[in-house]
Symmetry: C2
Subunit: 201 residues, 2 copies
DNA sequence: ATTCTATTACAACAGTTGTTGTATTTTGAC
DNA sequence: GTCAAAATACAACAACTGTTGTAATAGAAT
């Protein structure tokens, strides 16, 4: 197993410990135990705990981007945007795990300017991706003119964040059908009048 | 100063430390220093750190309920629901602080079943309040029939949570006008056809 | 003024934390 | 098989944690 692969193993061990024990109790020893190794393995692959933590959250986010990209493949129009949004929603147990880790990191970043800045960068990337999708939908006359696309991208991200945190607090709060319904309804708000009826035959 | 008032002082010191240092670095000694007292004061008013922490988050939530109730006073119809929702949004620096603490606590609860259950109870209360509002609006034929009011209450909470987390990550992401716009647009989705146009003259 | 109680201060405790340094083991190329 | 390098284990460290117990102080009631 290569150096980089081992780092990924460590990151995934971090995720599991966070979900089971919480970030506050995610110590070097706990991570090592979860990995089935010693702390020496951790310090050999990461300079310190901060680097390890940053890597773990970065991996999680890269997975999100990869999922979004994969779910967009071959899709077009409104469906494409819908699929991308829904790919990051907590519809499966695996999706829930990701959100638990995400919420834990977000709370952990409060009071730590360095981590908040990292989150800002990641949300900026996310926003940029969605704005790009909205621009193309607007050019294709699928969604209305006169929309503030940056605001609309932020609103979509907020919708996703809201559903995500809701499910973290109570996993049965939104079932997959309801999540899909809310996303569709929100996106429908943006659709141009002319094509609005064409989309619900 | 009475016993209970002192407990509130302690809770507010906890809030300040959380915002400045993060929940992970909110130790008994840090809280005492922020309060301008010693740890003895803390242990005298609270059995242990858990009770202290629970009290601090409970106070925060009671404030939220009080703000919602106050903002509903004298209001009726759609405006009443709008005001209640907007009263919990991070429109002011004080509102932002509350959301920072809230997000910190939420992340801290991951992996701690006890705290997650507390959050579930609080969200259940919030949902109940909003469902009640929706029931009355529906009875008054202001919002459509055939709506799943529990789902709609959860959706409104999700909207608020999404905006809140967004502002925590980037305080300039949603200015007050945009927050109001998004809330109004969401609520407008629920309004009955007959009164939809009556509301935008 | 005295006495009793509530409040506060402070030191000491056992436990846990991240980090470091030193061994030991494993791996891979020749 | 040899040997150098990478990977791992483990103990020791200083710093910090929540909690406890004891002593000092302040306030109020009589």
């Amino acid at each position: 197993m290569s150096y980089d692969e081992r780092r990924v193993d460590v990151a995934e061990a971090v995720w599991r410990v966070i979900i089971r024990e919480g970030l506050g109790r995610t110590s070097m020893r706990a991570i090592a135990q979860e990995l089935g190794a010693s702390t020496g393995t951790l310090t050999h692959h990461f300079r310190d705990k901060e680097e390890l933590t940053l890597f773990a959250i970065d991996r999680l986010f890269k997975n999100v981007f990869a999922d979004m990209k994969a779910s967009a493949q071959g899709q077009q129009g409104i469906d494409r945007l819908e699929q991308m949004i829904m790919s990051v929603l907590p519809m499966s147990p695996r999706g829930l795990s990701g959100w638990q880790i995400w919420v834990a990191f977000l709370g952990y970043a409060i009071g730590r300017d360095r981590l908040i800045q990292e989150h800002q960068k990641r949300y900026a990337m996310l926003r940029q991706i969605i704005v790009q999708e909205l621009v193309e939908l607007q050019a294709a006359r699928v969604i209305r003119d006169g929309l503030d696309l940056t605001l609309e991208a932020n609103a979509l991200i907020a919708l996703v964040d809201g559903i995500g945190t809701g499910v973290v607090i109570n996993p049965e709060q939104f079932d997959p059908e309801q999540q899909r319904y809310l996303v569709r309804r929100h996106i429908q708000t943006l659709v141009a009048e002319s094509s609005a009826r064409a989309n619900k035959p």
